[in-house]
Point group: C2
């Protein structure tokens, strides 16, 4: 019998959308539980590491978004075929996290000279470094980030690039972080046009930022 | 034929020691290549993500320390038996990384009021949160962090807890971050007393900080 999946997250795309994409890709039913942000302070201490998303699988609580992505990636057939292949995918995923943490450091900083400094660093160092790296990888891998074929990390990247743009691009006076990286734009478009993911995007709830 | 492994890192424990522990645990020969820190600016652009450690396996270059740990964890028999078990290990590993990034934010901050503020946050929020979490997990898992048995994430934790202490404990006016967490102290001692790891610790080169 197929396991029962319950995904818990805030009522936004954020770090859960990549998981929703993977479920959609695999045609797997899941409960898309979106909490009321006001309930978070109470709920927080009941989660394994004080964070969301969590994914309950027949009652067992999984946590850490990338760990969940990897788990589902194997289930939906988007993992490596060998340990070396999995390691290549994993390294790309952790490098996307490095970029995400660079963006977060700026995003969470209070307004002021330090925030301006982090913004300059983001635009002049962090973005060029990571996006040109990812662009190179996409070129070397026939439009994907690893292994020369679609893997779970492409789904993660496509989703997070959208989340980053929705969160921060306008605040950085750019229309998209992917400007100037045609192979990353193409990668995102490839993922968004996978029929099952396209169908999800068309029906998904809008973000409810608080 | 066994693959040829070449680990490249700075001449310190840092993020490579957990990999050296895993090789030692598995009785696997590896080249422990420690670069001259002065060569790093030149070497940096030749690495996949501008970071060390890297691990060459028959010429293929693996990167991101946790991805390498996971790869070796499978090879030396310290991974999960199912995808769900692997996900549990992975989530613990990524939570240790969250703690590491909290320490790094304070460590890399220039001296000044902001550094003092980050120090207070580390001592009063971040350490109690993460170490009491890990302590609970160790209690629930018979002295290990996941699955009720030794896995690769215990090796990673034991090594990183030592690295954190060597790097930062004295600067925080504490003798060890593990003070008050007896099950984590015991976990570290369990790992350090595995005969193959004990033998490595006795013969390993001392750190050469620059």
């Amino acid at each position: 019998m197929a396991p029962k999946y319950k995904l818990t997250y805030f009522p936004i795309a954020g770090l859960a959308e990549q998981i929703r994409f993977l479920f959609s890709y695999g045609g797997i039913e899941f409960e898309d539980h979106r909490i009321d942000p006001e309930s978070w302070p109470t709920l927080k201490s009941t989660t394994p590491a004080g964070q969301l998303p969590t994914l309950e699988v027949d009652g067992k609580v999984l946590f850490q978004s990338i760990a969940i992505d990897r788990y589902l990636g194997h289930i939906v057939g988007l993992a490596g075929k060998t340990l070396l292949e999995d390691c290549e995918i994993d390294a790309v995923a952790d490098t996307i996290t490095d970029l995400r943490l660079g963006i977060r450091a700026w995003y969470q900083q209070e307004e002021g000279p330090k925030k301006e400094e982090l913004k300059e660093k983001l635009l002049n160092e962090i973005f060029p470094f990571y996006f040109s790296k990812f662009e190179q990888w996409a070129v070397a891998n026939g439009g994907y980030l690893a292994l020369g074929r679609l893997t779970w990390v492409d789904i993660v990247a496509a989703s997070l690039f959208e989340v980053f743009d929705n969160m921060a691009a306008s605040k950085l006076q750019i229309s998209s972080m992917l400007n100037g990286y045609p192979n990353l734009q193409k990668l995102q478009s490839t993922v968004f046009n996978i029929p099952s993911i396209k169908a999800w995007i068309e029906k998904r709830p809008a973000d409810k930022p608080h």
